[in-house]
Amino acid sequence: MLTARMVAQADGPGEWDWAFARDILPDLLRGLWVTVRATAVGIVIAMVLGLMLAVARRSRIKIISWPVAAFVEFVRGTPLLVQLFFLFYVLPTTFGIVPSAFVTGALGLGIHYACYTSESYRAGIESVDRGQWEAATAVNLNAVTTWTKVVLPQAIPTVIPALGNYLVAMLKDAPLLSTITVLELLAEAKRIQAVTFRPTEAFTMAGVLFLAVSVPSATLVRFLERRYRYERV
Protein backbone atom coordinates (compact mmCIF):
# COMPACT_ATOMS: atom_id res chain seq x y z
CA MET A 1 0.00 0.00 0.00
CA LEU A 2 1.14 3.47 -0.73
CA THR A 3 1.54 5.65 2.21
CA ALA A 4 1.46 9.32 2.88
CA ARG A 5 5.16 8.97 3.62
CA MET A 6 5.87 8.21 -0.01
CA VAL A 7 3.90 11.18 -1.21
CA ALA A 8 5.52 13.48 1.26
CA GLN A 9 8.95 12.18 0.42
CA ALA A 10 8.62 12.90 -3.24
CA ASP A 11 10.40 15.86 -4.83
CA GLY A 12 9.00 17.55 -7.90
CA PRO A 13 6.85 15.19 -10.01
CA GLY A 14 9.20 15.35 -13.00
CA GLU A 15 12.40 14.34 -11.26
CA TRP A 16 13.48 10.78 -10.82
CA ASP A 17 13.40 9.75 -7.16
CA TRP A 18 15.19 6.50 -6.39
CA ALA A 19 13.73 6.17 -2.92
CA PHE A 20 10.24 6.54 -4.29
CA ALA A 21 11.03 4.04 -7.02
CA ARG A 22 12.18 1.53 -4.44
CA ASP A 23 9.04 2.09 -2.37
CA ILE A 24 6.63 1.45 -5.22
CA LEU A 25 8.55 -1.56 -6.55
CA PRO A 26 6.68 -4.17 -4.47
CA ASP A 27 3.32 -2.91 -5.75
CA LEU A 28 4.56 -2.97 -9.34
CA LEU A 29 6.01 -6.45 -8.89
CA ARG A 30 2.67 -7.65 -7.58
CA GLY A 31 1.07 -6.20 -10.70
CA LEU A 32 3.70 -7.85 -12.86
CA TRP A 33 3.00 -11.18 -11.20
CA VAL A 34 -0.68 -10.83 -12.13
CA THR A 35 0.32 -9.95 -15.71
CA VAL A 36 2.62 -12.94 -15.98
CA ARG A 37 0.03 -15.31 -14.54
CA ALA A 38 -2.67 -14.03 -16.87
CA THR A 39 -0.31 -14.42 -19.84
CA ALA A 40 0.75 -17.90 -18.75
CA VAL A 41 -2.84 -19.09 -18.40
CA GLY A 42 -3.68 -17.31 -21.65
CA ILE A 43 -0.90 -18.95 -23.67
CA VAL A 44 -1.82 -22.39 -22.38
CA ILE A 45 -5.43 -21.82 -23.47
CA ALA A 46 -4.25 -20.37 -26.78
CA MET A 47 -1.97 -23.34 -27.47
CA VAL A 48 -4.48 -26.04 -26.55
CA LEU A 49 -7.65 -24.42 -27.85
CA GLY A 50 -5.84 -23.15 -30.95
CA LEU A 51 -4.76 -26.66 -31.82
CA MET A 52 -8.27 -27.98 -31.27
CA LEU A 53 -9.72 -25.24 -33.48
CA ALA A 54 -7.16 -25.95 -36.21
CA VAL A 55 -7.89 -29.67 -36.23
CA ALA A 56 -11.65 -29.14 -36.02
CA ARG A 57 -11.51 -26.67 -38.89
CA ARG A 58 -9.99 -29.37 -41.08
CA SER A 59 -12.82 -31.75 -40.32
CA ARG A 60 -14.64 -33.17 -43.30
CA ILE A 61 -17.84 -32.89 -41.29
CA LYS A 62 -19.22 -29.47 -42.18
CA ILE A 63 -21.30 -29.14 -39.01
CA ILE A 64 -17.99 -29.03 -37.18
CA SER A 65 -15.71 -27.15 -39.57
CA TRP A 66 -18.05 -24.30 -40.52
CA PRO A 67 -19.00 -23.02 -37.06
CA VAL A 68 -15.34 -23.26 -36.05
CA ALA A 69 -14.26 -21.27 -39.10
CA ALA A 70 -16.95 -18.68 -38.38
CA PHE A 71 -15.90 -18.41 -34.73
CA VAL A 72 -12.23 -17.95 -35.65
CA GLU A 73 -13.03 -15.26 -38.21
CA PHE A 74 -15.37 -13.51 -35.78
CA VAL A 75 -12.81 -13.37 -32.99
CA ARG A 76 -10.02 -12.31 -35.33
CA GLY A 77 -12.25 -9.60 -36.75
CA THR A 78 -13.20 -7.93 -33.46
CA PRO A 79 -10.99 -6.09 -30.94
CA LEU A 80 -9.75 -7.88 -27.85
CA LEU A 81 -11.02 -5.00 -25.75
CA VAL A 82 -14.57 -5.54 -26.98
CA GLN A 83 -14.27 -9.27 -26.30
CA LEU A 84 -13.06 -8.60 -22.76
CA PHE A 85 -16.01 -6.29 -22.09
CA PHE A 86 -18.33 -8.89 -23.56
CA LEU A 87 -16.99 -11.63 -21.31
CA PHE A 88 -16.89 -9.39 -18.26
CA TYR A 89 -20.37 -7.88 -18.53
CA VAL A 90 -22.38 -10.29 -20.67
CA LEU A 91 -21.38 -13.61 -19.11
CA PRO A 92 -22.65 -12.63 -15.65
CA THR A 93 -25.78 -10.74 -16.72
CA THR A 94 -26.97 -13.03 -19.51
CA PHE A 95 -25.62 -16.41 -18.52
CA GLY A 96 -25.35 -16.01 -14.76
CA ILE A 97 -21.70 -17.10 -14.83
CA VAL A 98 -19.60 -14.92 -12.56
CA PRO A 99 -15.91 -15.78 -12.84
CA SER A 100 -13.35 -13.53 -11.18
CA ALA A 101 -11.98 -10.64 -13.19
CA PHE A 102 -8.66 -12.46 -13.45
CA VAL A 103 -10.24 -15.64 -14.82
CA THR A 104 -12.32 -13.62 -17.27
CA GLY A 105 -9.27 -11.73 -18.42
CA ALA A 106 -7.03 -14.77 -18.84
CA LEU A 107 -9.84 -16.58 -20.65
CA GLY A 108 -10.36 -13.57 -22.92
CA LEU A 109 -6.67 -13.40 -23.79
CA GLY A 110 -6.55 -17.17 -24.32
CA ILE A 111 -9.58 -17.36 -26.58
CA HIS A 112 -8.55 -14.31 -28.58
CA TYR A 113 -5.08 -15.64 -29.22
CA ALA A 114 -6.31 -19.21 -29.78
CA CYS A 115 -7.91 -17.94 -32.96
CA TYR A 116 -4.56 -16.59 -34.11
CA THR A 117 -2.55 -19.63 -33.04
CA SER A 118 -5.10 -21.86 -34.78
CA GLU A 119 -4.15 -20.20 -38.06
CA SER A 120 -0.48 -20.85 -37.33
CA TYR A 121 -1.22 -24.45 -36.48
CA ARG A 122 -3.19 -24.70 -39.69
CA ALA A 123 -0.22 -23.46 -41.70
CA GLY A 124 2.01 -25.89 -39.81
CA ILE A 125 -0.32 -28.79 -40.51
CA GLU A 126 -0.50 -27.84 -44.17
CA SER A 127 3.29 -27.76 -44.35
CA VAL A 128 3.39 -31.49 -43.58
CA ASP A 129 3.92 -33.32 -46.84
CA ARG A 130 0.92 -35.14 -48.28
CA GLY A 131 3.10 -38.24 -48.52
CA GLN A 132 3.14 -38.40 -44.73
CA TRP A 133 -0.63 -38.76 -44.61
CA GLU A 134 -0.43 -41.34 -47.37
CA ALA A 135 2.25 -43.34 -45.57
CA ALA A 136 0.07 -43.28 -42.45
CA THR A 137 -2.75 -44.74 -44.53
CA ALA A 138 -0.42 -47.35 -46.02
CA VAL A 139 0.44 -48.62 -42.55
CA ASN A 140 -3.22 -48.33 -41.63
CA LEU A 141 -2.84 -45.94 -38.71
CA ASN A 142 -6.08 -44.72 -37.21
CA ALA A 143 -6.96 -41.04 -37.26
CA VAL A 144 -5.81 -40.33 -33.71
CA THR A 145 -2.40 -41.95 -34.21
CA THR A 146 -1.98 -40.27 -37.58
CA TRP A 147 -2.49 -36.90 -35.89
CA THR A 148 -0.57 -37.49 -32.68
CA LYS A 149 2.36 -39.55 -33.93
CA VAL A 150 2.81 -38.45 -37.53
CA VAL A 151 1.33 -35.07 -38.38
CA LEU A 152 1.50 -32.95 -35.23
CA PRO A 153 5.08 -33.89 -34.28
CA GLN A 154 6.09 -32.51 -37.67
CA ALA A 155 3.70 -29.57 -37.70
CA ILE A 156 4.30 -28.20 -34.21
CA PRO A 157 8.04 -27.45 -34.48
CA THR A 158 7.27 -25.20 -37.42
CA VAL A 159 4.64 -23.42 -35.32
CA ILE A 160 6.86 -22.71 -32.28
CA PRO A 161 8.23 -19.37 -33.54
CA ALA A 162 4.72 -18.12 -34.23
CA LEU A 163 3.52 -19.30 -30.81
CA GLY A 164 6.44 -17.47 -29.25
CA ASN A 165 5.54 -14.25 -31.03
CA TYR A 166 1.97 -14.58 -29.78
CA LEU A 167 3.25 -15.18 -26.25
CA VAL A 168 5.11 -11.86 -26.30
CA ALA A 169 2.22 -10.08 -28.00
CA MET A 170 -0.16 -11.45 -25.38
CA LEU A 171 2.06 -10.21 -22.58
CA LYS A 172 1.89 -6.76 -24.10
CA ASP A 173 -1.90 -6.97 -24.51
CA ALA A 174 -2.34 -7.91 -20.86
CA PRO A 175 -2.70 -4.23 -19.79
CA LEU A 176 -6.11 -4.32 -21.48
CA LEU A 177 -7.20 -6.44 -18.53
CA SER A 178 -6.95 -3.31 -16.40
CA THR A 179 -10.16 -2.16 -18.08
CA ILE A 180 -12.03 -5.03 -16.50
CA THR A 181 -10.60 -4.32 -13.03
CA VAL A 182 -7.72 -6.80 -13.08
CA LEU A 183 -4.91 -5.25 -11.05
CA GLU A 184 -2.09 -6.09 -13.38
CA LEU A 185 1.09 -4.12 -13.95
CA LEU A 186 -0.33 -1.12 -15.78
CA ALA A 187 -3.27 -0.87 -13.37
CA GLU A 188 -0.82 -0.75 -10.46
CA ALA A 189 1.21 1.97 -12.17
CA LYS A 190 -1.94 3.98 -12.84
CA ARG A 191 -3.04 3.56 -9.26
CA ILE A 192 0.32 4.81 -7.97
CA GLN A 193 0.15 7.77 -10.31
CA ALA A 194 -3.38 8.58 -9.19
CA VAL A 195 -2.47 8.51 -5.52
CA THR A 196 0.94 10.20 -5.64
CA PHE A 197 0.69 12.36 -8.77
CA ARG A 198 4.11 10.96 -9.76
CA PRO A 199 3.83 9.33 -13.19
CA THR A 200 7.55 9.16 -14.07
CA GLU A 201 8.80 6.38 -11.86
CA ALA A 202 5.68 4.22 -12.00
CA PHE A 203 5.25 4.17 -15.78
CA THR A 204 8.96 3.98 -16.56
CA MET A 205 9.35 1.04 -14.23
CA ALA A 206 6.25 -0.61 -15.66
CA GLY A 207 7.83 -0.39 -19.10
CA VAL A 208 11.14 -1.77 -17.86
CA LEU A 209 9.38 -4.63 -16.08
CA PHE A 210 7.49 -5.54 -19.26
CA LEU A 211 10.79 -5.58 -21.08
CA ALA A 212 12.36 -7.71 -18.36
CA VAL A 213 9.79 -10.41 -19.04
CA SER A 214 9.35 -10.14 -22.80
CA VAL A 215 13.03 -10.26 -23.76
CA PRO A 216 13.76 -13.51 -21.87
CA SER A 217 10.54 -14.99 -23.27
CA ALA A 218 11.69 -14.27 -26.79
CA THR A 219 15.07 -15.82 -25.99
CA LEU A 220 13.41 -18.92 -24.58
CA VAL A 221 11.35 -19.29 -27.72
CA ARG A 222 14.43 -19.10 -29.91
CA PHE A 223 16.04 -21.78 -27.77
CA LEU A 224 13.01 -24.09 -28.11
CA GLU A 225 12.95 -23.47 -31.82
CA ARG A 226 16.56 -24.64 -32.15
CA ARG A 227 16.03 -27.59 -29.86
CA TYR A 228 13.03 -29.06 -31.67
CA ARG A 229 14.24 -28.54 -35.17
CA TYR A 230 15.07 -31.68 -37.09
CA GLU A 231 16.13 -32.31 -40.61
CA ARG A 232 13.41 -32.84 -43.15
CA VAL A 233 13.76 -35.82 -45.44
Binding site: D129, G131, Q132, E134, A135, T137, A138, V139, N140, L141, N142, T145, K149, V150, P153, Q154, Y230, E231, R232, V233
Partner: protein, 273 residues
Protein backbone atom coordinates in the same frame (compact mmCIF):
# COMPACT_ATOMS: atom_id res chain seq x y z
CA UNK B 1 -10.94 -79.58 -46.24
CA UNK B 2 -14.56 -80.05 -45.28
CA UNK B 3 -17.58 -80.73 -47.41
CA UNK B 4 -18.70 -77.17 -47.87
CA UNK B 5 -15.27 -76.26 -49.24
CA UNK B 6 -15.52 -79.03 -51.75
CA UNK B 7 -18.98 -77.88 -52.73
CA UNK B 8 -17.59 -74.38 -53.24
CA UNK B 9 -14.83 -75.53 -55.51
CA UNK B 10 -17.34 -77.43 -57.64
CA UNK B 11 -19.04 -74.15 -58.28
CA UNK B 12 -16.61 -72.78 -60.86
CA UNK B 13 -17.55 -69.13 -60.36
CA UNK B 14 -16.71 -69.04 -56.66
CA UNK B 15 -13.66 -71.20 -57.19
CA UNK B 16 -12.18 -68.55 -59.43
CA UNK B 17 -13.00 -65.75 -56.99
CA UNK B 18 -11.37 -67.71 -54.20
CA UNK B 19 -8.10 -67.46 -56.05
CA UNK B 20 -8.61 -63.80 -56.86
CA UNK B 21 -6.83 -61.44 -54.51
CA UNK B 22 -7.66 -58.14 -56.15
CA UNK B 23 -10.58 -57.49 -58.44
CA UNK B 24 -11.28 -54.13 -60.02
CA UNK B 25 -14.60 -53.95 -61.77
CA UNK B 26 -15.27 -51.03 -64.13
CA UNK B 27 -13.31 -48.65 -61.95
CA UNK B 28 -13.33 -45.06 -63.15
CA UNK B 29 -11.37 -42.15 -61.75
CA UNK B 30 -11.52 -38.71 -63.29
CA UNK B 31 -9.40 -35.68 -62.38
CA UNK B 32 -11.05 -32.62 -63.89
CA UNK B 33 -11.18 -33.38 -67.59
CA UNK B 34 -8.60 -36.15 -67.40
CA UNK B 35 -10.00 -39.67 -67.36
CA UNK B 36 -7.35 -41.45 -65.39
CA UNK B 37 -8.99 -44.84 -65.05
CA UNK B 38 -11.61 -45.58 -67.68
CA UNK B 39 -13.90 -48.44 -66.66
CA UNK B 40 -10.84 -50.42 -65.70
CA UNK B 41 -11.17 -54.16 -65.15
CA UNK B 42 -8.23 -55.88 -63.53
CA UNK B 43 -7.94 -59.14 -61.65
CA UNK B 44 -4.89 -60.25 -59.75
CA UNK B 45 -4.70 -63.81 -58.50
CA UNK B 46 -3.45 -64.61 -55.05
CA UNK B 47 0.36 -64.74 -55.11
CA UNK B 48 0.58 -63.30 -58.58
CA UNK B 49 3.21 -60.70 -59.44
CA UNK B 50 1.75 -58.19 -61.84
CA UNK B 51 3.87 -55.44 -63.35
CA UNK B 52 2.09 -52.45 -64.81
CA UNK B 53 3.93 -50.56 -67.54
CA UNK B 54 2.91 -47.68 -69.73
CA UNK B 55 3.67 -44.07 -70.64
CA UNK B 56 4.26 -41.49 -67.92
CA UNK B 57 1.17 -39.64 -66.81
CA UNK B 58 -1.09 -42.41 -68.00
CA UNK B 59 -2.40 -43.09 -64.52
CA UNK B 60 -0.61 -46.33 -63.69
CA UNK B 61 0.06 -45.02 -60.23
CA UNK B 62 -3.62 -44.27 -59.77
CA UNK B 63 -4.36 -47.98 -59.98
CA UNK B 64 -2.22 -48.46 -56.89
CA UNK B 65 -3.58 -45.35 -55.21
CA UNK B 66 -7.20 -46.46 -55.42
CA UNK B 67 -6.19 -49.88 -54.08
CA UNK B 68 -4.46 -48.19 -51.14
CA UNK B 69 -7.51 -45.91 -50.64
CA UNK B 70 -5.42 -42.81 -51.28
CA UNK B 71 -7.83 -41.86 -54.05
CA UNK B 72 -11.46 -42.76 -54.03
CA UNK B 73 -12.71 -44.05 -57.39
CA UNK B 74 -15.65 -42.19 -58.94
CA UNK B 75 -17.38 -45.41 -59.83
CA UNK B 76 -16.85 -49.15 -60.00
CA UNK B 77 -16.22 -51.81 -57.41
CA UNK B 78 -12.91 -52.97 -55.97
CA UNK B 79 -12.55 -56.17 -54.01
CA UNK B 80 -9.54 -57.18 -51.98
CA UNK B 81 -9.42 -60.71 -50.64
CA UNK B 82 -13.04 -61.15 -51.67
CA UNK B 83 -14.20 -58.15 -49.62
CA UNK B 84 -15.43 -54.98 -51.30
CA UNK B 85 -13.07 -52.15 -50.36
CA UNK B 86 -15.28 -49.11 -50.71
CA UNK B 87 -18.60 -50.86 -50.25
CA UNK B 88 -20.32 -52.94 -47.63
CA UNK B 89 -22.85 -55.65 -48.18
CA UNK B 90 -25.94 -54.65 -46.29
CA UNK B 91 -29.26 -56.39 -46.88
CA UNK B 92 -27.96 -58.01 -50.06
CA UNK B 93 -26.96 -54.67 -51.52
CA UNK B 94 -23.63 -52.94 -51.93
CA UNK B 95 -23.68 -49.62 -50.15
CA UNK B 96 -20.96 -47.07 -49.52
CA UNK B 97 -18.70 -48.39 -46.78
CA UNK B 98 -18.02 -46.70 -43.48
CA UNK B 99 -14.45 -45.73 -42.61
CA UNK B 100 -14.18 -48.66 -40.19
CA UNK B 101 -14.91 -51.17 -42.96
CA UNK B 102 -12.47 -49.52 -45.36
CA UNK B 103 -9.79 -49.67 -42.70
CA UNK B 104 -10.38 -53.34 -41.97
CA UNK B 105 -10.18 -54.34 -45.65
CA UNK B 106 -7.23 -52.02 -46.27
CA UNK B 107 -5.34 -53.96 -43.62
CA UNK B 108 -4.56 -56.56 -46.31
CA UNK B 109 -2.76 -54.00 -48.46
CA UNK B 110 0.40 -52.02 -48.01
CA UNK B 111 2.41 -49.79 -50.27
CA UNK B 112 5.93 -48.59 -51.02
CA UNK B 113 6.10 -45.09 -52.46
CA UNK B 114 8.28 -43.44 -55.06
CA UNK B 115 9.39 -40.79 -52.56
CA UNK B 116 9.71 -43.17 -49.60
CA UNK B 117 7.46 -41.10 -47.33
CA UNK B 118 9.29 -42.26 -44.24
CA UNK B 119 8.35 -40.49 -41.02
CA UNK B 120 11.30 -38.10 -40.64
CA UNK B 121 10.98 -37.69 -36.88
CA UNK B 122 11.22 -41.42 -36.20
CA UNK B 123 14.16 -43.80 -36.32
CA UNK B 124 14.18 -46.61 -38.87
CA UNK B 125 12.99 -48.99 -36.16
CA UNK B 126 10.08 -46.74 -35.09
CA UNK B 127 9.09 -46.24 -38.72
CA UNK B 128 8.68 -49.97 -39.10
CA UNK B 129 7.11 -50.62 -35.69
CA UNK B 130 4.44 -47.96 -35.58
CA UNK B 131 2.06 -49.66 -38.00
CA UNK B 132 1.98 -53.05 -36.24
CA UNK B 133 1.64 -51.34 -32.86
CA UNK B 134 -1.25 -49.18 -33.91
CA UNK B 135 -3.05 -51.24 -36.52
CA UNK B 136 -2.21 -54.86 -35.72
CA UNK B 137 -2.44 -54.56 -31.95
CA UNK B 138 1.15 -55.65 -31.32
CA UNK B 139 2.98 -54.71 -28.15
CA UNK B 140 6.05 -52.54 -28.53
CA UNK B 141 8.33 -55.51 -27.82
CA UNK B 142 6.63 -57.75 -30.37
CA UNK B 143 6.62 -55.02 -32.98
CA UNK B 144 10.26 -54.07 -32.35
CA UNK B 145 11.42 -57.70 -32.51
CA UNK B 146 9.72 -58.20 -35.84
CA UNK B 147 10.96 -54.85 -37.13
CA UNK B 148 14.55 -55.81 -36.29
CA UNK B 149 14.11 -59.01 -38.28
CA UNK B 150 12.68 -57.18 -41.25
CA UNK B 151 15.30 -54.46 -41.20
CA UNK B 152 17.90 -57.22 -41.01
CA UNK B 153 16.32 -58.89 -43.99
CA UNK B 154 16.70 -55.72 -46.07
CA UNK B 155 20.29 -55.39 -44.90
CA UNK B 156 19.86 -52.56 -42.40
CA UNK B 157 20.59 -54.20 -39.04
CA UNK B 158 23.19 -51.51 -38.44
CA UNK B 159 20.81 -48.64 -39.05
CA UNK B 160 17.98 -49.36 -36.61
CA UNK B 161 18.42 -46.13 -34.70
CA UNK B 162 19.20 -43.90 -37.64
CA UNK B 163 16.79 -41.22 -38.71
CA UNK B 164 15.74 -41.05 -42.37
CA UNK B 165 17.85 -37.95 -42.94
CA UNK B 166 20.93 -40.02 -42.00
CA UNK B 167 20.21 -42.68 -44.63
CA UNK B 168 20.91 -42.84 -48.35
CA UNK B 169 18.03 -43.01 -50.81
CA UNK B 170 18.46 -46.74 -51.27
CA UNK B 171 18.54 -47.30 -47.53
CA UNK B 172 15.43 -45.16 -47.06
CA UNK B 173 13.57 -47.16 -49.63
CA UNK B 174 14.61 -50.42 -47.97
CA UNK B 175 13.30 -49.13 -44.65
CA UNK B 176 10.08 -48.27 -46.46
CA UNK B 177 9.88 -51.83 -47.80
CA UNK B 178 10.40 -53.22 -44.29
CA UNK B 179 7.73 -50.86 -43.00
CA UNK B 180 5.24 -52.12 -45.55
CA UNK B 181 6.15 -55.77 -44.88
CA UNK B 182 5.66 -55.28 -41.14
CA UNK B 183 1.96 -54.87 -41.85
CA UNK B 184 1.89 -58.49 -43.03
CA UNK B 185 -0.03 -57.51 -46.13
CA UNK B 186 -1.48 -60.00 -48.56
CA UNK B 187 -1.02 -57.44 -51.31
CA UNK B 188 2.04 -55.25 -51.74
CA UNK B 189 1.92 -52.25 -54.00
CA UNK B 190 5.18 -50.82 -55.37
CA UNK B 191 4.87 -47.39 -56.93
CA UNK B 192 7.92 -46.60 -59.09
CA UNK B 193 10.09 -47.33 -56.10
CA UNK B 194 13.40 -46.72 -57.88
CA UNK B 195 12.45 -43.60 -59.85
CA UNK B 196 13.70 -41.20 -57.18
CA UNK B 197 16.97 -43.02 -56.62
CA UNK B 198 20.45 -42.32 -57.91
CA UNK B 199 21.27 -44.92 -60.57
CA UNK B 200 23.89 -46.67 -58.45
CA UNK B 201 21.35 -47.26 -55.66
CA UNK B 202 18.66 -48.84 -57.81
CA UNK B 203 20.21 -52.30 -57.65
CA UNK B 204 20.13 -52.70 -53.87
CA UNK B 205 16.42 -51.88 -53.78
CA UNK B 206 15.48 -54.10 -56.71
CA UNK B 207 17.43 -56.98 -55.14
CA UNK B 208 15.24 -56.79 -52.06
CA UNK B 209 12.05 -56.84 -54.09
CA UNK B 210 13.35 -59.62 -56.34
CA UNK B 211 14.14 -61.70 -53.27
CA UNK B 212 10.66 -61.06 -51.90
CA UNK B 213 9.00 -61.94 -55.18
CA UNK B 214 10.85 -65.23 -55.39
CA UNK B 215 10.54 -66.31 -51.77
CA UNK B 216 7.05 -65.23 -50.71
CA UNK B 217 3.57 -65.92 -51.93
CA UNK B 218 2.60 -62.33 -51.41
CA UNK B 219 0.52 -60.77 -54.16
CA UNK B 220 2.36 -57.88 -55.76
CA UNK B 221 1.30 -55.09 -58.05
CA UNK B 222 4.33 -53.21 -59.31
CA UNK B 223 4.48 -50.03 -61.33
CA UNK B 224 7.95 -49.59 -62.76
CA UNK B 225 10.00 -48.32 -65.65
CA UNK B 226 12.69 -50.96 -65.09
CA UNK B 227 11.87 -53.29 -67.96
CA UNK B 228 14.60 -55.81 -67.18
CA UNK B 229 13.30 -56.11 -63.66
CA UNK B 230 9.73 -56.47 -64.91
CA UNK B 231 10.75 -59.26 -67.24
CA UNK B 232 12.51 -61.04 -64.42
CA UNK B 233 9.88 -61.08 -61.70
CA UNK B 234 6.52 -60.60 -63.37
CA UNK B 235 4.03 -63.40 -63.85
CA UNK B 236 2.09 -61.02 -66.02
CA UNK B 237 2.84 -57.64 -67.55
CA UNK B 238 0.01 -55.22 -68.07
CA UNK B 239 0.36 -52.47 -70.66
CA UNK B 240 -1.71 -49.54 -69.49
CA UNK B 241 -2.48 -46.38 -71.44
CA UNK B 242 -5.32 -43.93 -71.76
CA UNK B 243 -7.02 -45.22 -68.64
CA UNK B 244 -7.32 -48.72 -70.01
CA UNK B 245 -5.40 -51.95 -70.27
CA UNK B 246 -4.07 -52.13 -73.82
CA UNK B 247 -2.82 -55.68 -73.55
CA UNK B 248 -1.50 -58.09 -70.97
CA UNK B 249 0.59 -61.23 -71.17
CA UNK B 250 3.43 -63.08 -69.47
CA UNK B 251 6.62 -61.00 -69.80
CA UNK B 252 8.27 -63.33 -72.33
CA UNK B 253 5.31 -62.88 -74.68
CA UNK B 254 4.63 -59.24 -74.10
CA UNK B 255 8.21 -58.07 -74.44
CA UNK B 256 9.15 -60.26 -77.41
CA UNK B 257 5.88 -60.27 -79.29
CA UNK B 258 3.68 -57.32 -78.37
CA UNK B 259 0.36 -57.47 -80.18
CA UNK B 260 -0.76 -53.90 -79.98
CA UNK B 261 0.76 -50.99 -81.89
CA UNK B 262 0.77 -48.83 -78.83
CA UNK B 263 2.69 -51.42 -76.85
CA UNK B 264 5.22 -51.81 -79.65
CA UNK B 265 5.74 -48.05 -79.80
CA UNK B 266 6.11 -47.80 -76.03
CA UNK B 267 8.54 -50.71 -75.78
CA UNK B 268 10.57 -49.34 -78.67
CA UNK B 269 10.84 -46.03 -76.92
CA UNK B 270 11.84 -47.37 -73.51
CA UNK B 271 14.08 -50.20 -74.64
CA UNK B 272 16.06 -47.97 -76.99
CA UNK B 273 18.08 -46.50 -74.14
Amino acid sequence: MNESDVANIDDSASASTAATMVRMDKVTKVFGDFVCLDQLDLEVRSGEKVVVIGPSGSGKTTILRVLMTLERPDSGVIEVGGEPLYHERRGGELVKAREKHVRSVRRQVSMVFQHFNLFPHMTALRNVSIGPMNALGRTKDQADARSRELLGMVGLSEKLNHYPAQLSGGQKQRVAIARALAMEPKVMLFDEITSALDPELVGEVLNVVRELAHTTDMTMVIVTHEMGFAREIADRVVMFAGGRIIEQAPPADLFSAPQHERTKAFLNAVLQH
